[in-house]
């Protein structure tokens, strides 16, 4: 019987376990390891500060998302012994494996930025990238009656690179609804040279920021967050003042990756072939989701699309056959823009987000605000728990990026 160990019981680990269990049945012993039992629906964190979602509704049991027959071990990973094909847990347990799937996501590292764990933090400096921060921001925004609100991404990569922009859009809407928008200065501060990494989408998103009166500060690499004086300071000496800062801290991989020599890169992410999702360090280690160092967004949709490829390739590997599934970098994100509307972007390694429709000519509008997209985003929560985590294919949504419906520039057609 094949032994598959899956590190991480979040989006990637759960859907990989369920897909592999379906493929192998009782022919494989699958164990998922996580340090706690709380599975957080991370896309919902964005809504908590604006009172649009309740924190308690975002959390469910990790083991209950796994199909019967999949083992679950609650424990901290100490390290992976690459030579011996064994995982060591902090409680002394050792798990041997024929295939290891790494799905331990990304970790927030506020301690890496000067001042980000200092005075004023978890108060008028906070983040919506974890549950406590999102709840704290709900209180802070409810009490905010005017002044400078700054949204700052310290550096990339971060989970869901559009979420900080969505926060700006929703803040504009939130304060408009409260009737105090004219008393709030909104500023988006990014280390990038534009609002987003890809030029066509960046232009659209910058247009929305401008229309909503959100100032954009680019190429700002934050060296210090001074909560006491209310200012961000960049490494090149610029300053941005704030009364309330919403900060997205530096991200890194899980800490056991650093304790497992050779497993990860400088930031603790595991290098993997971007198409097969097999790690570059060992043939029997596969990676998916935010834990992977591949050139695509750290987002749940990516993890979902990767899951199909990963499950196939793990199966091929265990059966001694060549890996034949290939991930194209497909990413699909709804971008909330406030006032009951949202945009949708869809792209992959080779194609940047383009206008048009998804998944074909008659579909959801791409790179354009619409009520339909907002409904799509809201509906996604149900699909996440009932279809995506169980490892089912979503109707009309495939791992490969659809080209139909997209308006490609002339140069790309040649």
């Amino acid at each position: 019987m094949k032994r598959i160990v899956i590190l991480g019981g979040g989006t990637g680990g759960t859907l990989a376990a369920n897909r592999l269990h379906r493929a192998y049945g009782d022919g494989a012993r699958i164990v998922v390891v996580d340090r706690d039992d709380d599975h957080v629906y991370q896309p919902g964190l964005l809504f908590v500060p604006f009172g649009m979602a309740d924190a308690d509704d975002l959390v469910r049991s990790r083991p209950r998302q796994l199909a019967d027959g999949i083992g679950y071990h609650r424990g901290e990973v100490e390290r992976v012994d690459l030579e011996a094909d064994r995982v060591h847990l902090a409680d002394g347990t050792e798990l041997g494996y024929d295939a290891l799937v790494i799905a331990t996501g990304a970790r927030l590292m506020p301690e890496e930025t000067e001042g980000l764990t200092g005075p004023g933090c978890r108060g008028h400096v906070d983040t919506f990238y974890d549950l406590d921060g999102a709840v704290g921001l709900a209180s802070a925004l409810a009490a905010f009656d005017g002044g400078k609100l700054v949204v700052n991404v310290i550096d990339l990569p971060v989970k869901c690179p559009v979420a900080p922009l969505e926060f700006c859009f929703l803040a504009d809407w939130f304060f408009t609804e409260r009737g105090i928008r004219d008393r709030v200065e909104l500023t988006y501060v990014t280390p990038l040279d534009a609002a987003f990494t890809k030029p066509v989408a960046a232009r659209t998103l910058e247009g929305i920021l401008e229309a909503k009166g959100v100032e954009l500060v680019t190429e700002f690499t934050t060296g210090e967050v001074d909560g006491a004086d209310g200012r961000l300071v960049s490494f090149d000496g610029r300053e941005v003042a704030f009364d309330q800062a919403v900060v997205v801290p530096l991200h890194g991989g899980a800490s056991y990756v650093d304790r497992s020599p050779g497993l990860g890169d400088e930031l603790g992410f595991v290098r993997a072939d971007e198409h097969t999702l097999r790690s570059q360090v060992k043939d029997n280690i596969f990676v998916l989701g935010d834990a992977a160092s591949v050139p695509t967004s750290k987002a749940g949709s990516v993890t979902h699309f990767e899951g199909e490829v990963l499950a196939r390739n793990v199966g091929q590997f265990l059966d001694g056959r060549p890996l034949d599934a290939s991930f194209d970098g497909h990413t699909n994100c709804f971008i909330e823009s406030g006032f009951g509307k949202a945009l949708l972007i869809d792209f992959n390694y080779d194609t940047e987000p383009l206008p048009g429709h998804y998944p074909a000519d008659a579909g959801l509008p791409l790179l354009k605000e619409s009520r339909l997209n907002h409904l799509g985003k809201l509906m996604f929560s149900w699909l996440y728990w009932h279809s995506l985590l169980p490892g089912r294919d979503l109707p009309g949504v495939s791992s490969a990026m659809p080209r139909a419906g997209k308006r490609f520039p002339e140069a790309a057609r040649r």
Partner: protein, 105 residues
């Protein structure tokens, strides 16, 4: 797309001044590229970063981000900004003749 002449060789560069063919780069070209990029005279610490950037590109196919540079080049981020004001990762990549770092998406 346009071309520049560095150390007597004509090289194609993109609209932001990055080499489109890193194989054409030679160390003698770096001082002139640095001047174009608004970086002053290149010292020993600049070269430490430039050589590191070239090696990273050869191994990984993309230049490192500022954060990775600060962790692995032996030059801390604050000093990187003194050496290459207004964006060390981009400026070091440009002077080292490699594409703009893909960075993060």
């Amino acid at each position: 797309m346009s071309t520049k002449v560095y150390a007597g060789t004509e090289v194609p560069v993109n609209e932001e001044g990055f080499f489109t063919d890193p194989a054409l780069w030679r160390e003698e070209m770096a001082p002139a590229i640095a001047a174009d990029a608004g970086v002053g005279e290149l010292g020993e610490r600049h070269w430490q970063v430039l050589k590191f950037v070239r090696a990273e590109f050869a191994e990984k196919g993309t230049g490192p981000t500022v954060r990775v540079l600060g962790k692995t080049s032996g030059v801390p981020v604050k000093e990187l900004y003194q050496l290459f004001p207004k964006g060390p990762a981009k400026l070091a990549a440009r002077i080292a003749g490699i594409p703009k770092p893909r960075g993060c998406i």
